[in-house]
Each structure stands twice: as structure tokens, then as C-alpha cells.
């Protein structure tokens, strides 16, 4: 009997699946749910640009059958800003990791959120730097063991939900890879919403993070997510924390505010009108 094709076949690049991610890695779930969200929204796949940075999740742009770009470490958002500003008709999605987006890339994240530039940023947060072997990162929990915190992490992690909300994102949500359907619904909402939208997805990393923190098997992380997650929609982002006792998930911000490319186009139009009326350029070079 001939093997049937998986329902997401057309959404992945020919010959690129199976992907390179480890057994139990959450990135595969982020990929699948994202593709299902696109399918359910019936997006024109010719009008989407996927941008990713460096890290295991960064490889995702090579798996999706759409225009895609894999940038230098930390810079997918800056690149995406250049794309969106020149082609506001395209949907731009940045999918990257906790280190890429919030350590080296932190500056670009907060400014793009501040500008409220229309794009969706999905962070696959696996609490460490998986690709380089499991070093600590800005989301590693206090006391966690990583290769660069062999005695336990003494740094506080970011509350990414709070950071995103504080920077000005108009939609902020956090889910884990076990909340597949809620995650997909969030992705759909974020993609449809006009403005800077952010979703944090807590993701298992059994080979690097899990193994060093008493969760060596893939199911161990999923059990952690399932048992400690609590859905608290619309609470104060400051209180949407990840602590040893609970993982607060849900949708925390869903507001409206003027979007950057709209303001830009408005301004260009008014300059156009002024030029038509006055018949001369506003500035003569000096």
C-alpha cells in the first residue's frame, strides 16, 4: 500500500521533511501548528515572508513553503522591518528562539514592538541555547543547570510577556507546546491582527535543557507543562510569570493602536497632495 501524504504536505518544502530537530523537540510542534493556522486562515502563501534567526528554531524558515530568509544571529526582526516597510502588502512573520530574539536581538524586539509595525513574532522558548549545546540564556530559570551555569543559574529570567507588553505589542500570548489548539487559535489571532503581535511558546528541549534539569525524556517536559500550566487570560502581564510552582499561560494583551506602515503611508500621501498642490519640492538641496 502506498504511503499516504501527511495533510500538511503542501505547506512544507519538497524533500525537507523530516526535519533535523531532536526527538521530542518542541520546534516540530511550533512548525506544525503554524502551518495548520495558515491553512485554516487560507492565507495566500505567495504573500507571506518567514524570517528566522540563528538557533535550532531558526531552521524553520527552510521547512516552510513560502518566501523565507535566514538572517544573522539576533537580526530577523530588523530584517523583517525592512521587508514590511517596503512591502506592507506582505504578511511578515518572524519565528525565532529565546536567545536570538531576546539576548542578542533584544534591542530589535523592543523597538519593533514600540513602533507597532505589523508583524507576528513567535518565540520558541526552550530555556537555553540548544543549537550550541545547551548554554544558559535570558529565559533560563533561576537555579537551572546549563553548560554555562554548571552550579545553577543565578540570573533572573525575563518575563517575555511583560517585556512584550511593556514595549508596546498589541497582542501578547503565552502557551506551551502541549496547548496545541489554544496555540493555534492564538497564532491565527496574531496573524490576523494588524500590528505587532507576539506569542511565546514554551518548548521542550530534552537533549540539552531537559537532560540537565531532571527532564531527560520528551514526555517529562510535556508533563511539566501540563501539570504546572494555569490559564489566566487578561491578567496583568507583570503577574504572568513562570515560577517553579506554576506556568501562567493565556492571552494577556489584545489592544489597538495606530500601526507604523499605516502612519507612514498616510504621511506619504499627505506629502504627495501637498506637492501636487504647490507644484514644487519642499526642499531644494543645499
Amino acid at each position: 500500500m502506498m504511503q499516504e501524504a501527511h495533510p500538511l504536505e503542501g505547506f512544507t518544502r519538497n524533500g525537507m521533511i523530516p526535519h533535523i530537530w531532536c526527538n521530542g523537540c518542541g520546534n516540530g510542534i511550533v512548525l506544525s501548528e503554524f502551518l495548520r493556522a495558515l491553512r485554516e486562515l487560507d492565507y495566500d502563501m505567495n504573500k507571506i515572508v518567514i524570517v528566522s534567526g540563528i538557533g535550532c528554531i531558526g531552521r524553520i524558515s527552510g521547512y516552510i513553503n513560502a518566501d523565507a530568509f535566514h538572517t544573522t544571529h539576533g537580526r530577523p526582526i530588523a530584517f523583517a522591518v525592512g521587508v514590511k516597510a517596503t512591502r506592507p502588502d506582505l504578511k511578515v512573520v518572524v519565528i525565532s528562539g529565546d536567545g536570538d530574539l531576546f539576548s542578542i536581538g533584544g534591542n530589535h524586539f523592543i523597538h519593533a514592538a514600540r513602533r507597532n509595525i505589523d508583524m507576528t513574532v513567535i518565540c520558541s522558548n526552550n530555556f537555553n541555547y540548544g543549537m550550541t549545546g545547551g548554554q544558559s540564556g535570558p529565559t533560563s530559570p533561576l537555579e537551572a543547570y546549563t553548560t554555562t551555569t554548571p552550579y545553577g543559574n543565578i540570573e533572573h529570567p525575563f518575563n517575555l510577556v511583560h517585556l512584550a507588553a511593556g514595549s508596546g505589542a498589541v497582542y501578547v500570548a503565552r502557551w506551551t507546546t502541549i496547548h496545541v489548539r489554544l496555540l493555534r487559535e492564538s497564532m491565527k489571532k496574531a496573524l490576523k491582527k494588524h500590528g505587532f503581535t507576539f506569542i511565546e511558546v514554551l518548548s521542550p528541549c530534552p537533549e540539552q535543557y531537559g537532560r540537565r534539569n531532571k527532564m531527560p525524556k520528551p514526555m517529562d517536559s510535556m508533563v511539566w507543562f501540563r501539570e504546572k500550566s494555569v490559564i489566566r487570560n487578561r491578567i496583568d502581564p507583570l503577574k504572568a510569570e513562570i515560577t517553579p510552582n506554576e506556568i501562567v499561560v493565556g492571552e494577556f494583551v489584545d489592544t489597538e493602536k495606530p500601526e507604523f506602515t499605516d502612519l507612514l503611508q498616510q504621511q506619504v500621501r499627505s506629502i504627495e497632495m501637498k506637492l501636487e498642490k504647490e507644484g514644487k519640492l519642499t526642499i531644494v538641496p543645499l
Binding site: R59, D67, T71, A78, D89, L286
Partner: protein, 381 residues
């Protein structure tokens, strides 16, 4: 009323001429960060780009600026940024990304005194080697050194043309003097501005490979939103764009092609100006604002009966190896005057008989005076 090519004669600032050149060349995206002495390029672009339907973005830093330039270029728009030394250093990693993804883009470095924060308001030529070797990895770029306000305009158009043709970053290595000088600027009629556009794919998406080169070693470039659904990465990749991080063959093929596509065409790309060299026994080599003093010195030397000429470098990279060799064969002495501790002079020494080459350094504030250069000419002539 044409808004992009504003034909006419102006008394313009160098930085502004550069911005107007970019707009005349079709640049419709600028991302940058303010830095002395290049801020005027950004400010002028901020005023003018909306008038021509373009986008000006002030990014949070120079790293973001370069990333946004690559993003915009891949969206099909001619893009540029401008900076000075400190920002140029920050941009290097993404310049490497532009090289690796064969992104047409123009980077203007209005050089100032370095290293580090240095002397922001004083000129220098200390970054010229950095333009070629600044990013990690091995690659070729094209860099121009304007000597006048008119060249700030003209060479910026040329930089866009070569970057589009060869799908590589092109640099305008200006210096603070030329950037902040006001001189006569002649903006030609639109029909006299020759523009080059990037090669577009003729194939349909199914048979298109984003990095499959044509005979000229340059792949046609698809852009986002056109249905090609291509993949580009900074990782070593094959013709389909997919990563090839294990294959020595793919690495060799790719890196070699990225260099060869420019090296093979160096005769067309390299530009020099030869002044009074036919019977010269001494040749002065200079570029940028120093070339202006060098020209004055050479003219005065000629009036004193000395057989001196000037080889002015218009492109810095690829280096004018052949042109320097030709002159070296005919002259007894070459004097290289630069505002640094010795950068282009090393390239000259490689090609000329090194005993024939002397170096005139000048660091700080102003370029060499014509008198300084003349004194040196008289010593050797």
C-alpha cells in the same frame, strides 16, 4: 515636474549630493542611524524619500540598519545606508550577510578620525582596508572614493549600478572633508542618467533556483511576494538556497564564485584618473580629499619643471593592480599620500617595486597640504 532627478546646477553639501545621487539612481529605501559626519545623508533622505514615494527608517542602531537594508533589497527595492567609522564596524557582520546572500545594496562611510570614537568632526581615511576585509570570511566588494561633491553624486549612482549588476554590497568611502564640503553640483537630465537594474528570473517558480548562476556567475534575483517562495540563508548553501554545512565542494564552489564574479570583471569595474602621467618620472597616488591636494601639488611641481603626475584612485576595491603596475614600470618614484598609517600603500607596494614607493602619512584634522606633498616630490624628483 520630475521629483527624483532634479536637474539643475546647485551649490550643494557633499552628503546631500550623495543622497540626491542615490535618489536619482532609484534608491527608495534608506535605513540608518545618525553619526557625524554622515548625519546629513540621513536627514536629506528623510526629507526627500517621501517625496519620491520611498521609505526612510531610522533604526535603533547600525546593525539593525544594515539588516533592514538587506530586507528591503530582497523586497525588490534599491536600498542604502550611511554611517561613519564606529557604525561601519557595527555593520560588518550584516555586510557579510549581504555578500553571502548576494544582496544589492550601497553603504556610505563618510570616514572620520579613528580608531574607536576618535575625532568625529575631523576627516580620515583609516577605514579603507576595512571596506574590503571588515567582515569575517573571504569575499570581494566594490568600493569608491569620491574626491568632490560632484563625485559624491556621480559615484553613488555608479555604486548602485554595480551593486545591482553584480549583486554585492558597494561602498562609497567618502571622508569628512568631501562629505561636508560645499561645491558646485551639476544634476543631469533624467535621460542622461544610466541605470542598471538587477537581473530578474526568466523561469517560472517551479524551475527557479535562487543561487543558480548564469554564465556571468551572477544568479537572477527573485524578490519576496512574487510567487517564487525561495529560501535564502547566510549559511553556506547550494543553488537551491538550502544549507550545505558539511560539503567541502559546496563551500569551495560558493565562496569562489562570490569572489570570481567580481574579479573576472575587474577591468570594467576599476576606475582611475591619470593626470600628467605620460612623461612622468614621479607618480603621486592618492584618493578622496587628499587627491585634491595632490593635484595642486602636481600642478605646482610641473610649473617648477618637474616631471610629476597623479594617479587618482576612483575605485579602491577591487584594487587598481594593473593600473598601478603600468605606472610603476615607467616611473622612478611613487608617492602614496593617505590619511592613515599606511593602508592602500601596501597594495601599491605589492604591485610596484617597493623600493620605489614612499608613503606620506597624515593623521588628524586636515588632509596633506599641497606644500607638504610638493616638498616630498622635490625630495625625490
Amino acid at each position: 515636474m520630475r521629483r527624483d532627478v532634479i536637474t539643475g546646477v546647485y551649490f550643494a553639501l557633499g552628503d546631500v549630493a550623495c543622497a540626491e545621487g542615490a535618489i536619482a539612481a532609484g534608491c527608495r529605501f534608506f535605513a540608518g542611524y545618525p553619526i557625524t559626519p554622515a548625519t546629513e545623508v540621513a536627514e536629506h533622505m528623510a526629507r526627500r524619500l517621501p517625496e519620491v514615494g520611498g521609505v526612510y527608517l531610522q533604526m535603533e542602531d547600525e546593525i539593525a540598519s544594515m539588516a533592514a537594508v538587506i530586507g528591503a533589497s530582497y523586497s525588490g527595492v534599491k536600498s542604502m545606508t550611511s554611517t561613519s567609522g564606529p557604525g561601519f564596524s557595527l555593520m560588518q557582520e550584516n555586510i557579510g550577510l549581504a555578500v553571502m546572500t548576494e544582496t544589492p545594496c550601497v553603504i556610505v562611510n563618510v570616514m572620520r578620525g579613528g580608531p574607536s570614537t576618535g575625532q568625529p568632526t575631523k576627516t580620515g581615511q583609516q577605514d579603507v582596508m576595512q571596506a574590503k576585509w571588515g567582515s569575517h570570511g573571504d569575499y570581494e566588494v566594490i568600493a569608491f572614493a569620491p574626491s568632490s561633491v560632484q563625485e559624491m553624486f556621480d559615484l553613488t549612482i555608479q555604486a548602485f549600478n554595480v551593486s545591482e549588476e553584480f549583486r554585492c554590497p558597494a561602498f562609497i568611502m567618502a571622508d569628512e572633508i568631501v562629505g561636508h564640503l560645499r561645491e558646485r553640483l551639476n544634476i543631469p537630465r533624467p535621460e542622461d542618467v544610466d541605470l542598471t537594474e538587477r537581473k530578474r528570473p526568466k523561469q517560472l517558480p517551479q524551475s527557479y533556483a535562487p543561487f543558480r548562476p548564469d554564465q556571468d556567475l551572477i544568479p537572477p534575483m527573485a524578490c519576496f511576494g512574487e510567487g517564487y517562495r525561495f529560501y535564502a540563508t547566510g549559511l553556506t548553501h547550494d543553488e537551491t538556497g538550502h544549507p550545505q554545512t558539511d560539503s567541502a565542494d559546496e563551500q569551495t564552489k560558493l565562496v569562489q564564485r562570490l569572489c570570481d564574479k567580481i574579479r573576472r570583471n575587474r577591468d570594467r569595474i576599476v576606475k582611475v584618473e591619470r593626470i600628467l602621467l605620460d612623461d612622468a618620472k614621479v607618480c603621486v597616488i592618492a584618493y578622496g580629499s587628499v587627491a585634491r591636494s595632490a593635484l595642486a601639488a602636481v600642478n605646482r611641481a610641473r610649473r617648477l619643471g618637474l616631471k610629476v603626475g597623479l594617479l587618482r584612485l576612483i575605485t579602491l576595491w577591487p584594487f587598481a593592480e594593473k593600473e598601478v603596475e603600468e605606472v610603476a614600470d615607467d616611473v622612478d618614484w611613487m608617492i602614496v599620500a593617505e590619511m592613515n598609517c599606511g593602508q592602500i600603500v601596501r597594495e601599491v607596494e605589492r604591485r610596484a617595486n617597493h623600493r620605489k614607493v614612499t608613503f606620506l602619512s597624515r593623521l588628524g584634522e586636515d588632509p596633506h597640504t599641497p606644500e607638504e606633498i610638493l616638498a616630498h616630490i622635490r625630495r625625490v624628483a
